[in-house]
């Protein structure tokens, strides 16, 4: 059995596998807009390895966290763009 943790995404709690990255968790939950560009258009992960900065979200109030480098942790609270 895969162990699970609970993360809160834009106020809604979700159980996610404990050994995945935050980017994987958000994509599996169905989040497509990790951030928005100047025109308000959605952006999401591209490189999966920390170079493109397109996967930035707010984690526990800290901005600019790259979701592809962040492990999920129980109780983590994430704000994305949508």
């Amino acid at each position: 059995m895969t162990p699970y943790v609970t993360i809160t995404v834009n106020g809604v709690p979700h159980p996610v596998a404990a050994d995945i990255t935050l980017a994987a968790a958000l994509l599996n939950i169905g989040v497509t807009a990790f951030r928005r560009d100047l025109d308000g258009l959605a952006r999401g992960p591209v490189c999966g390895m920390g170079t493109c900065f397109e996967c930035r979200v707010v984690v526990d109030g800290i901005a600019n966290v790259r979701a592809c480098l962040a492990p999920v942790r129980d109780g983590m609270s994430i704000e994305s763009s949508a």
């Binding site: 596998a17 050994d19 995945i20 990255t21 980017a23 994987a24 968790a25 994509l27 599996n28 497509t32 807009a33 990790f34 560009d37 100047l38 025109d39 258009l41 959605a42 952006r43 999401g44 992960p45 591209v46 490189c47 999966g48 390895m49 920390g50 170079t51 493109c52 900065f53 397109e54 930035r56 800290i62 901005a63 600019n64 966290v65 592809c68 480098l69 492990p71």
Partner: protein, 420 residues
Amino acid sequence: MVDVLVVGAGPAGLSAAIAVAERGKRVLVLDQGLRPGGQIWRHRQLASLPPHARAMIERALALGVVIANDARVVDAISPNELVIAFRGRIDRQPTRALILATGARERLLPFPGWTLPGVVGVGGLQALIKSGVSLAGARVVICGTGPLLFPVAATAVAAGADLLLVAEQASRGAVLGFGTSLLAKPEALLQAAKYRAVFRKAPFHTGSWITAAEGFGHVQRAVVNVRGKSVTFDCDWVATSAGLVPSTELAQILGCTTVDGAVDVDDMQGTSVGGVWAIGECTGVKGDLAAITEGEIAGRAAVGDVDGARAGSLQRRRNRGRMFGRRLARAFAAREELLQLATDDTIICRCEDVRRRDVDPTWTQRQAKLWTRVGMGECQGAVCGTACTAMFGWAANVARPPLGAPTVGEWGEELRNTAP
């Protein structure tokens, strides 16, 4: 103080660390990833890795190598002192010798629709799947170049994807020529055949490349030039890139000379800066086997085992790796058409939303930065700088600290640490 500090826990860095530890010296390996293994051996569970990869990680740990993951090098004060962001704090790490094994990243070229969510790199898709993304039932189109296409296509199918197409931009002739050169390396051909068997249901076309991605809020269609004919695929993911480029930012900050975008090294893997060695893909893209050999040479050299590093068999193996790298670069060079896909309206700089029409190719990279902020965003030109070098021939972006934009909390920590 450690004897040797290694940046990067991929095949290159692990191999170097083992060579150092085998000679009784203290070695610390730093990596910003969550687990050791670098790009090729990215994993969630050690047991899922191929035996030789697992053996290497286990050997390093058994020898007492300290591997710090989730540790980003953000600056270098000197070859003997690096600044590191580790679990939300900033720290300094002194060392006697430094080995750079920072790997490579993808060359992402702009085309209409490339900023849509769901459009990812080829290695990017691989990394996301290995980080836990589920592709069950998702329709996937892969358009890229080089040997990386095969393992990624196989991983996508194994992850449940409905793989619609694998497109190789290089010509059939180039791919056949490269394949023939591999006849001397039958194990590589066998591996490729194994991957192909896994994604056998998907068509594989050479001389084919993506021209546009379309969709609202997420990619819904990929338009692909399939051997000269424009074909549209309804899909959920598009994985595309134009090969790999060495990651040389840290080497640049240290003042190491680069040639053609790769860290320049001598026969001992030494850089132009004393006390700094460089190995693996940051010295040129040539795969995991070459990375391991280079690690062995640098690990020996960095602790003063010069004879060991000069060993003929190691040196010959490394030179064959370099030749393989040159063959790769020739066979899978990005074709001219890929450099001209962006239309006036296409965003070039993803961080600052600079469009193709906003920049004039006759400018220098510096002028473009001053006038449009291209390359001034969070990624520090890692994406657009590489693209503009390929498209306009602009000089490569010059890396500046801090690397990888530390978060506010981390800088607060650094200020506290250095306050009198």
